[in-house]
Symmetry: C2
Subunit: 344 residues, 2 copies
């Protein structure tokens, strides 16, 4: 990172936009017109358009004390792409608006956009528009993502069927444990600024928090295997919260098996350092950006081939409720303990 500091005011709003977007190369044939006009034009050929948006506010969704701007830019894109994949769609474009206070330099913004463009490159998505303005306090980020899906192949939350298998991708709960480490080190840093952060050996959980990925591979696998989930969403608020969404919107109950919840060894060790239960992290921790979905039992043979997918339970009738069977054999109702920014 350069130590230069160029004040944003030296560029002006339009100069800043030009500065930040001059290296964009559009990747999709459908990106007919990108940044630089009132709106972006996207062409579709018999495809359906999928659109999602997220608003990220400093001090609410991220803490710049321990979040490198490059990672923040990357993650701001990823969380939206994850929503597009959760529809069984392929993201094609994003728009990005940011509100910034004058404490940010052009170099700082460059770092942020480096992360944005890295995510766009990796997922073959075009940044096609946005808005750049000032904020009175803190950094504000709004991303909208647009995707394509073959007509009627999109997957909602409300269409799970009784008897379906409940599945998740990857490993759960690690991002939350990563956050605990970062918050701990922040507290130590504030109390004793001279002390170096001790994040040794925790790169897995911290990486899951600061630099998540979206599960494009799972969507590609569905297409290649001719699988269409009956219901799907991404796991951003914790497994409990998402299971309750699918059950409520599909008007079903469900049984979840604790022993089937995929938990990485590194996360388990890290959670024990905080003397917290890894299962609780998976159930109530947020920001995993894995996928949760349901498939008919008849499709099970196709999923077995994919090590990134775990069957964690099955859907029941609504009268049977939403339960977890613990490793000890206990049966407990699942309650929502996902992140709730508004309750803070």
């Amino acid at each position: 990172m350069s130590t230069e500091r160029t004040e944003i005011s030296t560029l002006g709003e339009f100069g800043l936009i030009e500065h930040l977007t001059k290296n964009i190369e559009l990747q999709n044939a459908s990106s007919v017109l990108g940044v630089g006009d009132d709106a972006a034009v996207i062409d579709h050929f018999g495809k359906q358009t999928v659109i999602t948006t997220d608003l990220l506010v400093e001090g609410v969704h991220f803490d710049l004390l321990y979040t490198p701007l490059r990672h923040l830019g990357y993650k701001s894109v990823i969380v939206n792409l994850s929503d597009i994949y959760a529809m069984n769609a392929t993201p094609t474009q994003i728009t990005l608006s940011i509100g910034i206070s004058n404490r940010f330099s052009v170099e700082a913004l460059d770092e942020f956009y480096e992360g944005v463009y890295a995510a766009c490159d990796k997922y073959a998505v075009d940044l096609v528009g946005g808005d750049t303005t000032s904020s009175q306090k803190g950094l504000i980020i709004s991303v909208t993502a647009i995707g394509e899906v073959t007509p009627d192949k999109y997957v909602k939350r409300s269409t799970a069927q009784k008897g379906d298998l409940l599945c998740v991708s990857g490993y759960l709960g690690a991002a939350y444990v990563g956050l605990l480490f970062l918050e701990r080190e922040k507290k130590i840093y504030i109390e004793s600024p001279g002390v170096q952060p001790d994040l040794e050996g925790e790169s897995y959980v911290i990486g899951r928090m600061l630099k998540p990925e979206a599960r494009k591979d799972i969507i590609d696998f569905f297409a290649a295997s001719d699988v269409v989930p009956t219901a799907m969403m991404d796991i951003s608020d914790g497994l409990s919260s998402e299971i309750l969404h699918i059950c409520r919107q599909s008007q079903l109950g469900c049984i979840l098996y604790e022993e089937k919840i995929p938990i990485a060894e590194e996360m388990k060790k890290a959670a024990f350092k905080f003397e917290i239960d890894p299962t609780a992290c998976a159930l109530s921790g947020g920001e995993d950006y894995e996928l949760i979905f349901t498939i008919p039992q008849s499709e099970y043979d196709k999923l077995v081939l994919n090590e990134e997918i775990s069957v964690v339970g099955y859907m029941t009738g609504p009268e049977e409720g939403v339960y977890i069977i613990t490793k000890g054999g206990g049966k407990h109702a699942i309650t929502a303990q996902g992140w709730n920014h508004l309750a803070q």
Copy 2:
């Protein structure tokens, strides 16, 4: 307005979203799936998709001391629709994200959304998604609008031709004068809270500031008259700034005639109360949300029929520069004095 106050925390995030969106009725056949899932699905039949986004921050873009929340909701939508019309496209969907601090009640949010839905109704646009979160300070609004345009009928800023007529819709500069009144009354109110605001007789200019409309009628007129402008954009930062955009992006010069700039009588009187030049308000004031566009001289006969359109000048070669001919016959270079939030 009700005097009840329901704390947002009593609803929770999802309860709040449900509360705010439960009355949505989708208007467009293309709105296949709206609020309530990870993303919205939009179907298009051989149309191109147009998308634009704006981020509005309290204290930067609006002042709640004199902006009724209902008007703010309305305007937040309008400014984005205006960008879609400026592409010669028809808006079909919006997404809306808001960040709110706990000083807002559910009733206050209801008022805001009433305005949002009023704009959606009037312009036949569907709200299909969004995000609701907390902010540490102030209200944050991010709107993304999506529109359709017949393939290759969209109009950019960069395609004006030498010799084209330069045209604008409606009347310019009034929103800025309205803002001056509101800021004056705010100052008086802060100094002497007992004094009633004196906005008598200024409903035109204040209405232009607080409750602008988007020029759907102009786009409809183009379609009915078989006119496609060579270049177009909306006037949000002032006439000077937008003319410079079109000239720079089209690599042309231009002559603007002061006497042709459309200025409403009510605005002229109001400007004189502040002892400012109405022309300066039109050139440098923002937030008019009128359209500026260029057409070949051969299309002039078609425009004459529309009283809402004024020819204000013509495009020249780039070597001839960008000038205004004043009423006194003077010739002055046009410089950008539009609103620049980042320079504040």
